[in-house]
């Protein structure tokens, strides 16, 4: 505790769970947007990663609410948010936006995988066959015409999904940005900062998994796909970081009443997590690395290594950004005269082990899904790779 904090502020209300929630939601939105770049905007270079990104979005989506449920004081009443929504609250739309987005992603996956489901249905017997019949909702016929309809519907759903993904994540930013009581949160830019950081984290996690899985399997990566994703990551991260800096810069330049306490926050409590780690190491580092890989021709090994490192650093950057926003904002006393403290417990209900478990489960789910329907087939990685080494 530093200076004076109001007596009720000695306990931080929103814990590491609420750090994790926008982080996971960001991965959902980012991964979905990557898949849509292929499905809607026809970026052929992203084809090998399109289906993987779509399923990743769904895997993260399934677990986005888990940290929230773990955090709620009365989780058994969670559905009140949909039964009795109070529409003056920014939070009341959550259930509906989340559900709508979940349905869109689920439908898109279904149409995307219908052909694979049918193939499995036809080649299997007994119980498995029945399961696939249920998954297929009895629609087991595949012709050229059905394929055309499936593709068209995937495209339409991906198109609808883009604004919904933006709303889902931008809205998470709005939850914080609309709290006028908190000077570190209250900014109209929060909406768009969260959106861009979401895309950065989504692209980063895809690059990370794509390279990691291929390294693990000693498989050849599709260099064009990776380079395209790295270029997108470079562009999106520049916008995200500039927006974050512009926000702080404008408050600092205006020298508002809040700046006195925010300056102390940045140079004190958040010095390491915000200035050193988030800005210097995890933003400036990837910016330099990705600038090199995008602008200068390096040996493949080197450039792929730098891309991988940048993806890991940017994943950390976004996690740190969530931490610095969610926890940082709560450290400031509403008396503007001091700072409270927060250290998550390790074994606590909302501690680090619980957070790590919730974060890891979607990856396990992806691994299990890959066992049934492999994401990366050898011929896919060779497509469109004239300059792959």
């Amino acid at each position: 505790m530093e200076g004076f904090v109001l007596p009720n502020e000695t306990h931080v209300t929103w814990t590491v769970m609420i750090v994790l929630y926008p982080y996971i939601t960001g991965l959902v939105a980012g991964a979905f947007i990557v898949s849509s770049l292929y499905h809607v905007f026809g970026l052929e270079q992203l084809r090998p990663i399109a289906r993987f990104s779509l399923v990743s979005a769904f895997a993260f989506l399934l677990f986005a609410t888990v940290p929230l449920l773990n955090h709620l004081g009365s989780p058994e009443r969670a559905f009140n948010i949909m039964i009795t929504p109070h529409f003056t609250s920014a939070m009341s739309g959550f259930g509906f936006v989340y559900a709508a987005y979940g349905i869109i992603v689920l439908l898109e996956i279904w149409f995307h995988y219908r052909a694979d489901f049918i193939a499995r249905y036809e080649s299997s017997r007994g119980l498995v066959k029945s399961i696939f019949r249920i998954i297929l909702l009895g629609s087991t016929v595949r012709t050229e015409a059905t394929d055309r309809v499936d593709h068209k519907l995937v495209k339409v759903l991906a198109g609808i999904g883009i604004p919904v993904a933006c709303i889902l994540h931008g809205y998470v930013g709005f939850l914080f940005g609309s709290i006028k009581a908190n000077p570190w949160w209250s900014t109209p830019l929060m909406f768009i900062i969260f959106l861009f950081s979401a895309i950065v984290s989504g692209v980063s996690v895809l690059i990370f998994l794509y390279q990691f899985v291929h390294w693990l399997r000693r498989a050849k990566i599709n260099q064009v796909t990776l380079d395209t994703m790295a270029r997108f990551l470079w562009g999106f991260m520049i916008v995200a970081v500039v927006l974050e800096l512009m926000d702080v810069l404008s408050i600092a330049y205006e020298q508002t009443e809040e700046w006195a306490i925010l300056k102390e926050l940045i140079t004190g409590k958040l010095w390491y997590t915000y200035v050193i780690c988030q800005l210097l190491i995890c933003s400036l580092g990837p910016f330099v690395f990705l600038s090199i890989t995008t602008l200068i021709r390096l040996p493949r090994r080197w450039s792929n290594g730098l891309i991988f490192l940048s993806a890991v650093l940017l994943l950390t950057q976004v996690l740190l950004m969530r931490w610095n926003v969610v926890i940082g904002g709560q450290l400031i006393s509403k008396s503007y005269r001091g700072f409270t403290e927060y250290l998550p417990g390790v074994f606590a209900k909302e501690g680090l082990i619980a957070a790590a478990t919730i974060f890891i489960i979607p990856f396990v789910l992806l691994w299990a899904f890959d066992k049934i329907f492999p994401f990366f087939t050898p011929d896919e990685s060779q497509e469109g790779t004239p300059d792959a080494v």
């Binding site: 007596p7 209300t13 948010i81 609250s89 008396s335």
Partner: protein, 256 residues
């Protein structure tokens, strides 16, 4: 013959309709027109005649902490959390401001916060929920569990609150907390169970200096209205437009 019969039936019908309409009109007038006056003073119908407000006279508070203790006992406030607390402000000869509120002043202020410097100005400021007219906490509650009662008190429905903590974040005054035993948000109810029965709040009862006044802002003859006309007062964080109903007499610029 049949034409005559028709005429008679029509006449009877019109008479019937006319008498009935007149009866309904007169009946309604009697039933609803006088309802305002006939309701009993403590009945639920007269809640709209009240608008509860609060005055904190910072010039009278001596920081004894009786209000905090009374509130804790009356409302079973969990340890480490406060529905009301008292802050102490001390300004030294170098114009540095020192503020403290050890354990919300539950055990009063047993020792000087600043011992080495000469104090040129000192005062106490009790705080509690401001029961804002435009309350940020009510606005952000996603399930509508926090609401304004018809008599102007911000309350929480403990059986509906999901304990998300959004209201705790939205309150600019740090008046809310999550009660871990209830799993819901909690805060000052202005002793609603007492004021509803025309009893004073626990903190008002306990204050030995008459530094706290609770009353009906809609009653032009109430003490709270008279004091607001006689004294100069201020609000906490008026720039946030929450329109608080907790009025501070003698509020210093240093208090946020």
């Amino acid at each position: 013959m049949s034409e005559k019969h028709d005429m008679a039936t029509r006449r009877r019908f019109l008479q019937f309709a006319l008498f009935n309409t007149a009866g309904l009109c007169v009946g309604s007038l009697v039933a609803f027109g006088s309802s305002d006056d006939s309701a009993s003073p403590s009945g639920p119908d007269d809640l709209s005649r009240f608008d509860w407000g609060f005055i904190v006279d910072t010039t009278r508070c001596i920081g004894c902490g009786s209000c905090v203790r009374a509130c804790k006992i009356e409302n079973d406030v969990p340890d480490g959390y406060f529905r009301t607390w008292v802050e102490r402000y001390e300004i030294d000869e170098e114009e540095k401001v020192h503020v403290d509120s050890p354990n919300g002043s539950l055990e009063s202020f047993r020792q000087d916060y600043v011992r080495s410097k000469h104090i040129v100005k000192a005062f106490f400021v009790p705080k509690l929920c401001n029961h804002c007219r435009n309350s940020a906490c009510t606005q952000v509650c996603p399930v509508g569990a926090t609401f304004h009662s018809p008599d102007g008190v911000v309350l929480i429905d403990r059986e509906h609150c999901i304990g998300c903590g959004y209201c705790v974040q939205a309150c600019p005054y740090g008046c809310r907390y999550i009660s871990h035993s209830l799993g819901t948000a909690d805060k000052c109810t202005l002793c609603y169970h007492r004021i509803h029965r025309r009893l004073e709040t626990a903190c008002v009862m306990a204050c030995p200096r008459d530094a706290r006044i609770c009353g009906n802002l809609k009653d032009p003859r109430s003490r709270i209205r008279r004091l607001l006309h006689e004294r100069r007062y201020s609000l906490l964080k008026p720039e946030l437009s929450t329109n608080p109903k907790c009025y501070y007499i003698g509020l210093d610029l240093e208090v946020k």
